[in-house]
């Protein structure tokens, strides 16, 4: 098995950027990989909000569109 993601390696979209999908990935592992595990964020998966309690059990298989958002200043 090649170490380099091939043309058919599973990808996910995270905040508009394509990212390779690690094996056995879940929303929690995606957060951890981004250093966001302890941050006040919310996640939308394919257009639906996923409650925090389900991050660890939410498996990703490729092609998912994920938005990770937080509060910022605004009027």
């Amino acid at each position: 098995m090649s170490d380099v993601p091939g043309a058919d390696a599973p990808m996910i979209m995270v905040n508009g950027e394509a990212k390779p999908l690690a094996p056995l990935a879940t929303l929690m592992t995606v957060l951890e990989a981004a250093g966001l595990a302890g941050r006040p964020v919310a996640i939308e998966l394919n257009g639906e909000v996923v409650p925090r309690g389900r991050f660890a059990e939410c498996r990703l298989t490729g092609g998912e569109r994920i938005e990770i958002v937080t509060f910022v200043g605004g009027g």
Binding site: N15, L36, A42, E44, V49, I68, T70, F71, G75
Partner: protein, 272 residues
Amino acid sequence: MNALADTPLVVGGMTLTSRLIVGTGKYATYADMARCLAASGTDCVTVAVRRERLVNSAGENILDHLDPTTYTLLPNTAGCYSADDAVRVAKLGRELLRDLGSAAADWVKLEVLGDKKTLLPDPVGTLEATERLVADGFTVLVYTSDDPVVAIRLKQLGAASVMPAGSPIGSGQGILNANALKICLEYLKDGDPDYPVIVDAGVGTASDVAEAMELGVDGVLLNTAIAQARDPLRMAIAMRDACAAGRNAFLAGRIPRRRYATASSPDEGRMV
């Protein structure tokens, strides 16, 4: 008897102690923001919902400077140009508030914009998003224009507060159409005097806040006027004072405008 007795501002069942709602955007630093919010006396602040940084996520988060137990956080749907987008963002804002254990997690400041240059609301999208969010259990505080027809329709759809703009967002022009705002107040409070009407957008300086409160609005939402004043901290204090002054003037009942003079000193006893 307390000469300054007043009923509190109640929106969607939530009691606020201040009639100013202050935005958290456009400050030089989060620390400046925190000082200005404290000086303004507000207990409700708006926040936006945006993508978290995926790199350098060791940076500050606004929540490091905003205590959710001191301030009621009101997520906005700023930057949304369709009802679909606004509903998506509102749901994410609600999820963030739920994670914080907020008592008002279902609050949202709804904005559905129609035009990038003017940031005027899209009335059709605003009506649709209000209906959808109310059906999903949200407490909707809705940004709209000073059009009384749209305003009353938003209330009829279940908006917890209708928030007419004084002038375009960030424009600092204050209340451009007091007549329209008065009609909005009349329609929205017909048979329902405690229905909260909050002027949102366009405030430029303290007198704008006082003017709005004197017209009888229940609160004012502002951001740029404080954040981008030359001395934001001083302006935050001015806004706090103006809000109180305008509210007291409204409750006190002003004299009418007269064409001609009426002397303040008596005629009787003049020696001349």
